[in-house]
Amino acid sequence: MDITEAIQTAQDLLNLWTSGMSTPDLSRLDVVLAPKDLKPAVRILQKAHWGYLSAITGLDHPPLPASPDGKQPAKDGSLEMLYHFCEGAAILTLRVSAPYARPAIPSICDILPYATLYEREAIEMFGATFRGTPNTEHFVLPEDWPSGVYPLRKSFTGLNKPQKAN
């Protein structure tokens, strides 16, 4: 499969669920999904044998206060998980967002068992919650790491310093 063909196939496969698609460059396709659509999307990619899950990147979007001029309303904080799938040179990124208040995203470990390491990392680094993930033990952080402290959130500035209000 060459790049355009791979991207086209992915577009066709995921058309049903997506709430937004973009191609940031020739080799990439970004697909925005609602959390409930993640598992069906991953299942269809696996069934069609489209690439493999190369990584899960977590992003923190901290809450934003309303701008003084009132043009931008206040925004709640949210987490975004990027599921990067690679097929040859083509990279498909499934983007799933969950607000801090309801951080649960379905686990994909029942479809791709090797995703557990990435999910464990996102749980301890970002405070993400994966519904149905088989193992929630620490993966890289020490056992005595304080609970509820997520180092890759923007509000984390170090253990001995006061945390930024969030």
Binding site: S27, S54, A55, A89, I91, T116, Y118, P134, V140
Partner: protein, 393 residues
């Protein structure tokens, strides 16, 4: 991937300390007699918070930080990073710089594979091969030092190019070193494919079939030894690989022996590539300008590290510092594979099987065999290694 805790079974925790290898990791193998029934991994003993640290440093400082993620494949981390930053800033390094990056990538792969060959042989009790390969590896270390001034963390890359050049004298030295290594590699190939005692420890041991490797998303030589032709250098060529294409080396066996053969064959491919790059080194500038502030953007950079696909995700926010950098190293993928295919194998084979994926971790100096009910017995990694060697005597 999960170790089910049951009072009847033995759990063998291995790790995390090991002063001789690179990085510590902790494994727990559940065993019934000699056979492994479950395996789980715990990392983080050398977790340094590098991803978080990048958000507090500017784009140039991060190059030096990220190059220090790994002491073995430092150049490939720097390469993945500079390619990502160059994509964000929409600049391309000049052809000569790309060729020199490729040259160092391949020299680094040679040193990494030879280091692995020694470690893997040592874990199996073949210390002669270990001593030979590490002695010969000094040749390529000297070549890298001659080029860059450093044995590790070569610091060849800068944003927008490279900071070293290759002159004719250096090229001649490299050619001579590569000729010597090629001869030695023929000897290694002979040993690992014909020595009966060696094959006794590697043939049909730790076999991962094509379907397993595919389902577990294995990468690098571990995947290629199971017949999966997956190599970022060929799939999505970067730096100078479009001009210097590589042949993807695969084997069908999927066992430890195949992993040896794949890596040794990759050495030949690297020698060929190094010679070709030296012969056809493009003429021109070494750097191009990269702005200090990078507009808001996202980039993904994938490269083929000696152990497999290395994945970088970079997000810029218009300032001098990145918004987020995510690094996924190939060993993460291959740990997931070994934790799965370890089930059903013999404990005595684990030292070589763990070494067989060329993990960028070190295992253990202290393993404890615990019977949850009564007795416990402490083992070191050395004990486990010796146990493996004696088991096959």
């Amino acid at each position: 991937m999960e170790a089910k805790v049951s009072p009847q079974k033995f759990i063998v925790p291995i790790g995390p300390q090991h002063p001789a290898l690179k990085e510590p990791g902790h494994f727990e193998f559940t065993v019934e007699g000699e056979i492994i029934t479950g395996a789980t991994v715990r990392l983080g003993y050398v977790h340094r918070g590098i991803e978080k640290s990048t958000e507090d440093r500017n784009w140039v400082q991060n190059l030096y930080l990220l190059e220090r993620i790994c002491g073995i494949c430092s150049h490939i981390h720097a390469t993945a990073y500079v390619l990502g930053v160059e994509a964000l800033a929409n600049v391309t390094a000049p052809p000569r710089a790309q060729a020199i990056r490729t040259l160092v990538c391949e020299l680094e792969r040679i040193h990494s594979h030879m280091l692995w060959l020694g470690v893997a042989a040592h874990e199996g009790g073949f210390d002669t091969l270990f001593m030979y390969s590490w002695r010969d590896r000094e040749t390529v270390m000297d070549l890298l030092e001659g080029l860059s001034g450093n044995r590790v963390n070569y610091s060849v890359n800068v944003l927008g190019g490279v900071k070293i050049d290759v002159d004719e004298k250096q090229a001649a030295t490299i050619r001579k070193g590569i000729d010597f290594l090629e001869g030695r590699t023929q000897y290694y190939m002979k040993v690992v494919t014909t020595d009966e005692t060696f094959l006794g420890r590697t043939r049909n041991v730790g076999t991962m079939t094509y379907d397993q490797a595919d389902a577990l998303a294995a990468v690098g030589p571990t995947a290629r030894a199971s017949g999966i032709a997956r190599d970022v250098r060929a799939d999505a060529p970067y730096v100078a690989y479009p001009d210097f294409p590589i042949k993807v080396i695969t084997e069908r066996g999927g066992d430890l022996a195949a992993r040896f053969v794949v890596r040794i064959n990759e050495l030949y491919e690297s020698y060929r590539l190094v010679r070709e790059i030296l012969d056809k080194l493009p003429v021109g500038e070494l750097t191009t300008r990269v702005p200090r502030r990078i507009p808001e953007n996202e980039a993904i950079s994938r490269v083929e590290a000696p152990r497999g696909e290395l994945f970088y995700y970079l997000k810029s926010n218009g300032t001098e510092k990145p918004e987020r950098i995510k690094v996924r190293t190939p060993s993460i993928c291959n740990w997931a594979t070994v934790m799965n295919f370890a089930i059903g194998l013999k404990l005595a084979d684990m030292p070589m099987i763990l070494a067989g994926i060329d993990p960028c971790f070190s295992c253990s100096d202290r393993a404890v065999i615990i019977n949850r009910k009564s007795q416990s017995q402490e083992w070191s990694w050395e004990d486990l290694r010796q146990y493996g060697i004696k088991y096959y005597r």
